[in-house]
């Protein structure tokens, strides 16, 4: 069984690398340069997939966390660990690429717009979950507490978005060139391929991280068994 999962993992790695290369080729060599923003608009092709996948990871987190609380199966907790950690990484990259794109495009690093603010709050919530797990006195307690926090965070995110939206009122700032200008065909292809590539990368990272969690569990069990038989 381990061999077949190894095979799947290798296939996923190859697919990720291939699609990532294709995405980069499309982004830099095929997609036309945006007329208003210029070359910097090309950050869009990584920023948007990263952001979309960050919010996808919240769904995975909710699944893992609620599933663990319901069934107490370790597999759900491994999913919850992986989606929280990889989601946090992607969220960090979204928060880094966003301002780098916004500064030359709109002249500001940051604005308290609903999507940005929600992403920032999500980053804090995910960081809190990772931190709380590190503070737990046993892995089992960490899993339980992180699951509780994961459920709260996942339920909170849409409400945060709505509240921030009302808080700021309707703002004319348009994020994503799609609304000012229909995407040129080359742009759309680059975006879609890039989205696919980052999805594969996300899947790969989550799978590897979940497997690490499973292996760590197995190691702990073996150490325990060894201590017992001595």
């Amino acid at each position: 069984m381990r061999r077949s999962s190894d095979l799947a993992m290798s296939a996923l790695t190859v697919a990720t690398a291939g699609s990532m290369a294709a995405a980069l080729w499309l982004i830099f060599l095929v997609a036309p340069e945006e007329r208003v923003m210029g070359a910097v608009q090309k950050i869009f092709y990584v920023h948007v997939p990263l952001a979309a996948i960050t919010f996808l990871s919240v769904f995975l987190l909710l699944t893992g966390a609620a599933g663990y609380l319901w069934t107490r199966r370790a597999g759900f907790d491994h999913l919850s660990i992986a989606s929280a950690e990889v989601g946090w990484l992607f969220c960090t990259l979204v928060l880094v690429t966003g301002p780098i794109w916004a500064k030359p495009a709109w002249g500001v690093w940051w604005t308290w717009e609903a999507k940005l603010t929600t992403t920032l709050v999500l980053w804090l919530l995910l960081a809190g979950i990772l931190l709380a797990r590190a503070y737990a006195s046993t892995p089992e307690q960490g899993a339980r507490i992180a699951s509780v926090l994961g459920v709260i965070a996942a339920l909170d995110v849409p409400i945060v978005y709505k509240a921030v939206d009302w808080w700021r009122g309707q703002h004319p700032i348009v994020f994503g060139p799609g609304k000012t200008d229909p995407l040129a065909p080359g742009m759309l292809a680059a975006l879609l391929v890039s989205m696919g590539a980052f999805l594969l990368l996300f899947a790969l990272l989550v799978a590897v991280r979940a497997r690490l969690a499973a292996e760590e569990d197995r190691l702990a069990a073996l150490l325990e068994a060894a201590a017992r038989s001595r």
């Binding site: 910097v40 950050i43 990259l93 190691l219 038989s229």
Partner: protein, 51 residues
């Protein structure tokens, strides 16, 4: 053109972040499997499948 500097840093940040995470993950994974291998070899004959 200044815009290219932003583009460069944007992509640099993404790839740096992903690379660092991948390296960290790979190191943790190899350390765990090294320890697992050592344990399984030592306790090969005995019941090594506690979970």
């Amino acid at each position: 053109m200044k815009s290219y500097a932003f583009l460069f840093w944007g992509y640099a940040a993404v790839w740096a972040g992903l690379t660092i995470y991948l390296i960290a993950l790979g190191r943790r994974l190899s350390r765990v499997s090294r320890r697992l291998d050592a344990l399984e070899r030592r306790g090969g004959g005995r019941d090594g499948s506690a979970t």
